[in-house]
């Protein structure tokens, strides 16, 4: 195989996507923090699929066209850090192929080099032991200065093997991986894509390749996640037909029959997704009337986190924005991980809110769309999660020319709340960005989340079933219940009478529990102000800020 054609490249990309899909759960499970919100695999898959969806069918005649289309789709679909780095890798890779009708070994080797270079440029401070190290190993293996082969398949095989070796080495480069006993999730995603593409090029047995991918990841850990997570199925489902009411809720058992529920709900609504186990199941469906689905579910167990959105209204609003809101000189768009936060951000002055965050990272396109919906001539984005910042920044770079997009790189939801409170539509963009950045930095953010496996992170031993306390992004402690984890985290961050604590409760807590904790905080530190607010965030009973 001396060259590859447009058709071959097209097929290889499809096979790469299929292989990534088979390893998505594995990548999700490779979470440094032992909490059930791993979504690296999902982010990479959704990003990659955005590229595949852009490919013409049947494939274009010209290799350059396939490459350009794929890279463009990937750019706009990029979500999460891993998705962004992946999109940049393929942007570099495809740029090298764009002038070509077919590609030889030297072209592919050069493309790997450009891909790795672009991936490094995508991140402000490159960290080894991540997808970047895997990409650079691939580039090194295919150096055009050492043309060990003229066969494209051989070159690709060596790239795939090198990627696997680099992946296995990631825990030696990044201590948090070693502590958590995992390899880098993003790196695994890239290995899976390269493996799939190799299989696609050569027509070999994908099962053998799957085994190699799993081995490079140190074995199959995808069963580790035991709590139901909002996953890509929700995203896929919610992007299809938009009519009636998008209805989501959590049912708590005991004795739920997930498969039976799926079948029963299929007769009630569309786009039905049920994930979970016999204790807890998360349900998503679209129905003209949300009532029957809720009545059905309440016969099975207790309901919580009920979210019902009128998609007809959304369509009106989104499809014809000029009919609903006049253009504003300056607007803010925030990412909100729950219905409470969505309401809070809207009330505090956000013209548009993107639902998502830790478990559903918005794509570059999501940001650009929301900026358009916000009707601002200038738009400030609040990503509110460290894994979402890069997609927002890419949206700002690649904005469509009609709106000028800026980013205040908030890395937590409480930071986003502080930033939006500092927003003043009567002031200039520059003054607002300064004020919002300052406000975001003036607080400490705390996140409490359930641990789903035993782990040691940053010297803290965590047992499955405990709750961990993350302060400003660092896992600091574990405790046996969520309330204790919160109280210990607040104490570790330091409380004094002149401070304000804002407590946002979500999945796994209640207004009453949160208020009880607030009273305890006020008893322990007389004079301190504690505000309790419903955030509705998944996976985390409490988010909090101290300012």
């Amino acid at each position: 195989m001396l060259t590859i054609t447009a058709q071959q490249f097209n097929d290889a990309l499809q096979a790469g996507g299929e292989c990534l899909a088979r390893h998505r759960d594995l990548a999700n499970a490779l979470n440094v923090f032992p909490v059930p919100d791993g979504d690296t695999g999902t982010n990479m898959l959704l990003t990659f699929r955005a590229g595949l969806e852009r490919l013409a069918s049947p494939a274009a005649d010209n290799l350059g066209t396939v490459a350009a289309d794929f890279a463009d789709g990937l750019f706009w679909g990029a979500r999460g850090n891993s998705g962004v780095i992946l999109s940049q890798f393929f942007k570099g890779f495809c740029q090298a192929l764009e002038p070509l009708e077919i590609a030889a070994v030297s072209d592919i080797a050069a493309a790997f080099g450009q891909g790795a270079k672009a991936a490094y440029q995508a991140v402000g401070q490159p960290v080894e032991g991540t997808m970047l190290s895997v990409a650079s190993a691939v580039a090194r293996s295919a150096q055009p200065s050492e043309p060990a082969t003229e066969d494209v398949a051989t070159l690709w095989e060596s790239a795939f093997r090198s990627s696997g070796e680099a992946l296995a080495l990631t825990p030696t480069q990044l201590p948090v991986l070693a502590q958590a006993g995992v390899v880098d999730a993003g790196g695994l995603g890239l290995v899976a894509i390269l493996g799939g593409m190799w299989a696609g090029l050569t027509g070999q047995d994908s099962e053998a390749i799957d085994r190699e991918v799993v081995n490079a990841a140190g074995g199959d850990r995808s069963g580790l996640q035991t709590l139901p997570a909002v996953d890509a199925a929700f995203v896929d489902a919610s992007h299809h037909e938009a009519w009636g009411y998008c209805t989501q809720f959590l049912v708590e058992g005991p004795g739920l029959a997930v498969e039976q529920m799926r079948q029963d709900l299929d007769s009630i609504g569309q786009s039905v997704v049920v994930v979970g186990d016999e204790r807890r199941a998360r349900v998503h469906l679209h129905a003209l009337d949300p009532g029957p689905a809720l009545s059905y579910a309440v016969s099975l167990g207790g309901l919580s986190q009920i979210e019902i959105e009128n998609m007809n209204l959304q369509n009106q609003e989104w499809g014809n924005p000029s009919a609903t809101a006049p253009a504003q000189p300056l607007t803010v768009v925030a990412v909100a991980p729950g219905d409470g936060f969505e309401a809070l951000f809207r009330e505090a002055g956000c013209a548009a809110v993107i639902r998502g965050g830790q478990t559903m990272n918005p794509s570059v396109q999501d940001f650009v769309d929301a900026a358009g919906r916000s009707r601002g001539e200038e738009v400030i984005l609040l990503p509110n999660n460290k894994n979402v910042v890069v997609a927002a920044e890419l949206a700002a770079q690649g904005d469509d020319g009609r709106t000028a997009i800026s980013v205040v790189p908030t890395v937590s939801v409480p930071q986003g709340v502080a930033a939006v409170l500092a927003f003043n539509p009567a002031e200039s963009l520059e003054r607002n960005i300064r004020a919002m950045e300052t406000a975001a930095k003036q607080l400490s953010s705390i996140e409490i989340a359930p641990a789903v496996r035993d782990s040691t992170v940053g010297g803290v031993h965590v047992s499955a079933g405990q709750f961990i306390g993350i302060i400003d992004g660092d896992l600091k402690l574990a405790a046996n219940d969520a309330g204790a984890a919160l109280m210990e985290s607040l104490a570790a961050a330091g409380l004094s009478p002149d401070l304000i604590v804002t407590l946002y409760w979500g999945e796994g807590s209640s207004q009453a529990q949160a208020e009880e904790l607030a009273e305890e905080i006020e008893r322990n530190t007389p004079g301190i102000q504690v505000d309790v607010i419903y955030g509705g965030q998944p996976h985390s009973p409490y988010l909090a800020s101290i300012e």
Binding site: G349, L421, N424, P425, A426, D498, I500, Q529, I533
Partner: protein, 278 residues
């Protein structure tokens, strides 16, 4: 011909200071449960805030009548004075309108100059004090009116509210609309710009609002005159004054209280600093 300064009760100018400066203050009207009161004449702050909090319903306000202005102007003209009449922003109140009609009714004499301050409360009050001091030494009415208008840009107002409810229900919220919301308790800081209420910041509690008022006041540098004013909580005014005391000479700091007209819109717990700077 000597110049006399006229203003309205939305200036919140303390009565003793107005008397000392020979300033005539025309009262605006406050209506509480269908009874009309003349601001500062029939009703004073203590009683007003008690009734504001007790309800039921919220007070409303109205500008002085054309006749009120005409009577006042005629009296001063009869005494042989020229008149410089400086009033609350025409975007917040119809007071300027009454003054204009009264001047017309008197045949638009050159001896009456009207100034829309684009300000309210002690911001207007500071402009009136400066005008009255100069009026005592000047007979050049157009010249003085010009200097007063030019000086309005140097007056800055920062007010912290406990709630935007009164401003909103009173229909004067303007661009501070953007700060409405009840999920998070905030103590909004507002200013006056182009004659309207403008949003500034949203501190999370009263203590931080006071601190920010002090810092915002300081951003404009030393003041030639400063006013500290409150609605119901004198301790907040005291604290704010301590923070800002070094910004202006002690004898040029005015302590005042939001009267019933302003109180209708700022509500309880409001505190503000107003300065002549630059």
């Amino acid at each position: 011909m000597a110049i006399r300064v006229v203003t309205d009760s939305a200036s919140d100018l303390p009565a003793d200071l107005a008397a000392a400066l020979d300033v005539t203050v025309i009262p605006c009207n406050v209506v509480i449960q269908d009874v009309n009161y003349k601001d500062g004449v029939d009703i004073h702050p203590d009683e007003f805030y008690q009734r504001l909090l007790a309800g039921p319903g919220l007070p409303t306000t109205s500008q002085p009548s054309v006749a009120d202005f005409q009577t006042c102007y005629q009296g001063l003209l009869d005494q042989g004075h020229q008149i410089l009449s400086i009033h609350v922003s025409g975007k917040l109140s119809g007071t300027m309108n009454s003054a204009e009609r009264a001047k017309e009714a008197l045949g638009n004499p050159d001896s009456i100059e009207l100034v829309d301050s684009q300000l309210a409360s002690l911001g207007l009050g500071l402009a009136v004090i400066a005008a009255a001091e100069e009026a005592a030494q000047s007979e050049d009415l157009p010249g003085l009116a010009g200097r007063v208008r030019a000086g309005l840009d140097n007056i800055r107002c920062f007010i912290a509210l406990d709630t935007l409810e009164y401003l909103q229900k009173g229909g004067r919220i303007g661009k501070a609309q953007a700060f409405l919301g009840s999920m998070l308790s905030v103590k909004p800081i507002l200013t006056l710009q182009d004659g309207e209420v403008h949003p500034v910041e949203r501190p999370r509690n009263a203590q931080r609002a006071l601190q920010r008022l002090g810092e915002l006041a300081r951003e404009g540098g030393p003041a030639t005159r400063m006013g500290i004013i409150y609605s119901t909580d004198p301790q907040r005014a005291e604290q704010l004054k301590n923070q800002c005391a070094d910004l202006a000479p002690e004898d040029r700091i005015v302590d005042a209280r939001f009267g019933p007209v302003l109180g209708t819109y700022v509500g309880p717990g409001a505190v503000a600093v107003m300065l002549t700077q630059g």
